[in-house]
């Protein structure tokens, strides 16, 4: 069925090709170029060799990303489920509530959290009024996770919601009809059928979480790999580019591992 695409078809996709070249391929080329060169523009693997000093940071970043992804999933699934079962008008309102934070810039959202979590922030203020001592929240790992979860939460809700919305209600009735109570209707029908949504949700949260910058810096007072790359681009672009490439490969590998797990019969989840 392979037909040679006509001139017209080529013409139609041309703008996209230009766009892809300008904003995807060219930048990728530059990343690769810097990663494989040194300060003087000579071929060099020194950037990749230096990567080994950053192994703990990679592990820490992936750990934070995983944790944020799991928490997002556990929170988002029930919420997506509830939204998908609500009346159409209620659905719109609830979806809006989930999405509103996305309308605001990430930096502003993170700044807002900073002021909320501070030792003299609003939460501690209220706690004090209630007679509890100040709780130290800012610059803790918990604050970083909170920031990641908060920022990427909608990306977990939306794909799961979409899948659940399309789930055929008669399949649920069929499962009940064949003897399944609520729990088994969920584990044997709803969960397996919502797996595609879960997979894309995990991808859409895990990828930006692992490579996130700014959030950990402002809320945790620490630098994750994203923050470090951001700093390095200014001081040592070759090392920064090498780290970026390695991060990209790591993310691709973990995503394809996950897809392997879920492709087989749509079966077990991670």
């Amino acid at each position: 069925m392979t037909k040679k695409s006509s001139f017209l078809q080529k013409l139609i996709v041309a703008p996209y090709m230009v766009w892809a070249a300008a904003f995807i391929i060219v930048p990728m080329f530059f990343v690769a170029y810097y990663a494989f060169t040194d300060r003087n523009g000579n071929f060099s693997l020194s950037g990749f060799i230096a990567t080994k000093n950053y192994i703990p940071l990679f592990i820490q970043s992936i750990w934070y990303g995983l944790l944020a992804t799991v928490i997002c999933l556990l929170l988002a699934y029930p919420i997506a489920f509830i939204i998908s079962r609500a009346k159409p008008t209620t659905q719109k309102v609830l979806l809006m509530l989930v999405m509103i934070p996305m309308w605001m810039n990430l930096l502003i959202r993170t700044y807002a959290w900073m002021t909320i979590l501070q030792d003299t922030g609003i939460i501690n203020h209220i706690l004090k009024l209630l007679g509890f001592g100040p709780v130290h929240m800012i610059n803790t790992p918990g604050a970083v996770i909170l920031g990641l979860v908060y920022n990427f939460f909608p990306y977990m809700v939306l794909p799961i919601y979409t899948v659940l919305l399309k789930l055929d209600g008669t399949l649920i009735e069929a499962a009940q009809d064949l003897g399944s109570g609520t729990t088994r209707v969920f584990t044997k029908v709803i969960l397996p059928l919502s797996l595609p949504g879960i997979v894309s949700g995990i991808t859409m949260v895990f990828v930006p979480s692992v490579s996130s910058f700014y959030i950990a810096n402002k809320l945790g007072g620490i630098s994750l790999i994203g923050d470090r790359i951001e700093e390095l681009i200014r001081t040592n672009i070759n090392l920064g580019a090498a780290l970026s490439l390695v991060l990209m490969v790591l993310i691709l590998v973990s995503i394809s591992v996950m897809n392997k797990f879920t492709d087989e019969d749509g079966g077990i989840l991670v």
Partner: protein, 376 residues
């Protein structure tokens, strides 16, 4: 037909202030093939869902084995459903679909395998075990749905227009196959359809419904030969339904002629409806006819001609093997046993005249249901 298996007692259901079922009473006996027949929207699916446990009646009782089961959830009822759109699990293959209910019961793997194999054979799908259900044809999917429901030995199998999506040829084959399965497995079937031919050819008992009310329950012969009212007479097969007057027992006057008939027990001069099936009318020369009229339409149907004659303004449909040209004056003769007398009902005068006949020829299968909806 010994013991009562399931009973519906005075079931009423409302959806958004609309009363959908208006007091349904129905007894289903062991190993019976019962068909719910009626036009679209009359409440057939709702009745089925009440028995399956997916709809709770506003009032009335669902009885199984002598006990009320209104509050028993679907998964605890010994009934299984073949859903109208099959509702096969897309993430499971044919084998796992059929094994679904068996796994819920936590049967040992060996027993599951034996049962699934048996089921696959029963529905002639040997060798399809590993197939993806989405790659099957409509008829095959439908048979998987039946096998899945039968695998866990239901006391009653509920089938909601299971053949609705199939083409005519496949539908006929499946009708025979389903009937065979029902007899072999010895299971009670409650079967929903709006195809009257299907209902007549498969059932032990037909339940004709309209507008949330059961119009008649009986054997296919009862329903066809002794319809209770104009709705049933019209819905099941073709029929001429005329206003008549019972002059006395066994004498019905219609269109100005006193016909002999076999019905009695009506008041003197009571107004009634008379049903005469098109195939029971004999064509005779005009002067010898009990009634006479002019042919207004002739359609060749293969085995017979379907002709419409106008007698005193009422259009009769007659099926005859002799060709009659349009405009011819012909007489008709009717044997006493071909006339069936019915009490007047809300349906009187609504059905049974063929003056809008051309519409009906175009679309004989949906004609009846359309007519019901527009006329009620």
């Amino acid at each position: 037909m010994q013991n009562k298996l399931v009973s519906l007692q005075n079931i009423r259901v409302k959806f958004d202030d609309d009363e959908i079922l208006k007091g349904i009473n129905l007894d289903i006996y062991d190993k019976e093939f019962v068909t719910l027949l009626g036009p679209s929207g009359c409440g057939k699916t709702t009745t089925l869902r009440i028995i399956g446990g997916f709809v709770t009646p506003d009032s009335g009782k669902v009885i199984y084995g002598g006990a009320e089961i209104n509050d028993v959830p679907p998964h605890k009822r010994p009934f299984n459903t073949v859903f109208q759109k099959y509702a096969l699990f897309p993430h499971l293959n044919v084998y796992e679909n059929i094994a679904f209910g068996l796994r819920i019961k936590k049967l040992p793997e060996k027993q599951i395998k034996a049962k699934v194999t048996e089921m696959l054979e029963l529905v002639s799908l040997k060798g399809f075990a590993k197939r993806n259900v989405n790659s099957l044809s409509g008829g095959q999917q439908q048979r998987v749905a039946i096998a899945r429901a039968l695998a866990i030995d239901p006391k009653v199998l509920l089938l909601d227009e299971p053949l609705g999506a199939l083409d005519l040829k496949l539908r006929k084959d499946m009708q025979i196959e389903l009937k065979k399965i029902q007899q072999q497995a010895g299971i009670t079937f409650l079967y929903v359809t709006h195809d009257q031919e299907e209902a007549l050819s498969m059932s032990d008992k037909v339940v004709v419904m309209d507008n949330g009310i059961i119009q008649q329950i009986g054997t296919p012969q009862d329903i066809y030969n002794e319809p209770k009212n104009a709705f049933v007479a019209d819905f099941i097969g073709e029929s001429n339904i005329l206003d008549a007057v019972m002059k006395e027992d066994y004498i019905a006057s219609l269109s100005g002629y006193d016909f002999k008939c076999l019905d009695g027990g009506y008041a003197k001069n009571e107004l009634v409806d008379a049903v005469i099936r098109p195939e029971d009318v004999d064509v005779v020369p005009a002067e010898k006819g009990m009634l006479a009229g002019v042919v207004t339409s002739v359609v060749f149907k293969g085995v017979y001609f379907e002709i419409i004659i106008d007698i005193n303004g009422f259009k009769w449909m007659i099926q005859t093997t002799d060709y009659q040209p349009i405009g011819a004056m012909i007489g008709i003769s009717i044997e006493p046993d071909a006339i069936h007398i019915m009490k007047k009902s809300v349906y009187s005068g609504v059905y049974g005249d063929y003056s809008s006949f051309s519409d009906e020829v175009d679309n004989p299968e949906v004609e009846t249901s359309n007519e019901v909806n527009t006329n009620l």
